[in-house]
């Protein structure tokens, strides 16, 4: 089912924990496919076909970071900063990176390793509304906030206003 993927593009947040069970789950991670019926709820519709990618794949880091199926996005949920004026590891101009983040564990098909990926929100400007991407993964209810993705993680920024999300490598999952 991709229904949640088709819903509230970046409004949910996911954290893939790093226990083996959750690492396993992280690998399942489904990803958004372009829908067509729900433009208001599905900005991905409007960008899935975009020809000009923000960035090309780099050696050992395959795929297009402006597309939802890029490997690092296994646990992301939000607007891709690569479509908003940022990059895979930088916020758009004038958007502040949040000090609080959540991490996922994603499998890199190039070297067959699991990487710890941090998803920092960029904040202080309102919704970028481009390249929404939800990738299902392990999540826990809000009584475990650091494992919960329904929270606006601009908590750590000057203004708690969400713009987009980056996906940075923090190392290899042990």
């Amino acid at each position: 089912m991709k229904l949640l993927d088709r819903l509230f593009e970046g409004s949910t947040r996911r954290m893939a924990a790093v226990t083996s069970r959750r690492t396993a789950l992280a690998r399942i991670g489904s990803w958004v496919v372009a829908g067509s019926a729900l433009p208001l709820l599905l900005p991905i519709d409007r960008v899935a076909g975009r020809a000009d990618a923000a960035e090309a794949g780099r050696p050992g880091d395959p795929g297009d970071p402006s597309k939802c199926d890029y490997w690092r996005y296994c646990s992301i949920d939000g607007f891709l900063c690569t479509c908003c004026g940022g990059s895979i590891n930088t916020c758009p101009p004038g958007a502040e990176v949040s000090l609080v983040t959540w991490v996922g564990t994603c499998h890199n098909p190039a070297d067959d390793k699991d990487y710890i990926v941090a998803y920092n929100d960029c904040c202080g400007k309102h919704s970028c509304a481009q390249c929404a991407c939800t990738r299902n993964d392990s999540e826990q209810p809000m009584y475990r906030p650091f494992n919960n993705n329904d929270i606006n993680w601009c908590l750590g920024a000057k203004a708690n206003v969400y713009n987009c999300t980056v996906a940075v490598i923090r190392g290899v999952a042990s």
Partner: protein, 379 residues
């Protein structure tokens, strides 16, 4: 809108527009609508996060029978909303920034009149209001309308207790390791905690903490409980990701756990049936029936997925008594509290699916009434 102003407006228009002598249709007078009180039993309030903007958001008021919009309440920063028990107020917990996306943050509790849909008063509260996909139990009202409870997340968690008649913040109660504030009776609220307990806070007459009880309810590591439940006859019902219902009877002096029971048979579980959605459960108080969004081919990652399947249970017999089918996938449910109840479900196209629970069938759709509907409230 004062009469004086209306008269002024009419006068101004009159000046602009010469009026013929023998008009077949009479001149209209300008006015402003007011909704009846007490509210129609089916009136609903849709919390719309407007996700592609999320600064100025809204609660849209609708008539699910006539399938029409009755009005709207502008809110700030994806505000949670709650109705007073007497039906006279809609409370919203708003976040405002002086420059919309930056500047000075002001959090307020705003009290709206349910007939005029005008703000009656607001109270500044600590700038800690939780900013999440809107949770029903992020904003609660005591049974006697004396206190309003606001959930804070910074990410430390606490609850701001507002004294309504006094228009003051009575207290801020820390709930470390716990979340949300499920209202219980006149002077209590519960929170769900990461250690698998339900914590029950009792307030004194001043709205300050008087007592704190804990009830072991579930195993958060092996069978986490979904924090979005329903309350019926003093019992809060929740479900695990795989469909085991756990209940907490909070009607008595001390909280009691009820015997867990399953939403699915062994065969259904094998077939992968499990609950999922945002506000995935609703209860019809008069009939004591529970409505749950269910999907097949379950795995844990699908616990917040919308669904077209709604399964119906009798809370007395704890057995499945029926199924409802939605034409579009539904994410959040709410049932009305009257004796000709409707079940309302927000679909993923921004519309509202209406089910007649007396006839037990789908009774139409209010299309595209919201941009990002996440909760439905009824009186």
């Amino acid at each position: 809108m004062s009469i004086r102003r209306l008269a002024a407006a009419a006068a101004l228009v009159g000046a602009l527009a010469p009026v013929g002598a023998h008009a077949t249709l009479p001149e209209d007078t300008l006015g402003q609508e007011t909704l009846p009180f007490p509210p129609e039993p089916h009136r609903a309030y849709i919390v719309d996060m407007e996700f592609e903007n999320m600064v100025a958001t809204r609660v849209t008021v609708i008539d699910p029978d006539a399938k029409r919009m009755l009005g709207m309440i502008p809110t700030g920063g994806a505000a949670p909303a709650a109705l007073s028990r007497d039906g006279k107020r809609v409370y919203t917990a708003d976040i405002f920034y002086s420059r919309y996306t930056r500047g000075t943050r002001t959090d307020v509790l705003t009290a709206w009149d349910t007939s005029k849909l005008e703000p009656l008063w607001e109270l500044e509260i600590p700038t800690k209001r939780a900013s999440t996909i809107v949770q029903r139990d992020a904003l609660g009202v005591s049974d006697d309308d004396r206190f309003v409870y606001v959930f804070n997340l910074t990410p430390s968690t606490s609850v701001t207790v507002v004294d309504v008649p006094a228009r003051t913040v009575a207290s801020e109660i820390a709930i470390p390791g716990c979340a949300l504030n499920y209202p219980v009776g006149k002077r209590r609220f519960a929170s769900m905690c990461g250690d698998g307990t339900l914590q029950l806070i009792t307030l004194d007459e001043a709205g300050k903490e008087a007592a704190r009880d804990k009830l072991a309810l579930f195993d958060p590591n092996r069978k986490p409980l979904i924090e979005r439940g329903v309350v019926h006859a003093g019992v809060y019902y929740f479900t695990t990701l795989d469909g085991m219902v756990h209940g907490a009877d909070l009607a008595g002096d001390k909280p009691k756990a009820i015997e867990p029971w399953s939403l699915v048979t062994d065969d259904e579980r094998k077939a992968g049936w499990a609950p999922g959605g945002w506000q995935l459960m609703a209860v019809s108080p008069k009939s004591g029936r529970l409505y749950v969004l269910m999907h097949p081919d379950h795995h844990d990652g699908l616990w917040e997925d919308p669904s077209t399947q709604i399964w119906v249970y009798d809370l007395k017999t704890r057995s499945k008594v029926g199924t409802l089918e939605s034409p579009a996938p539904v994410w959040s449910l709410r049932a009305t509290s009257d004796d000709k109840p409707l079940l309302l479900g927000t679909n993923i196209e921004g519309g509202l699916e209406v089910f007649d629970l007396t006839a037990g069938k789908h009774a139409g759709t209010l299309p595209k009434i919201a941009k990002t509907p996440v909760q439905v409230l009824t009186h």
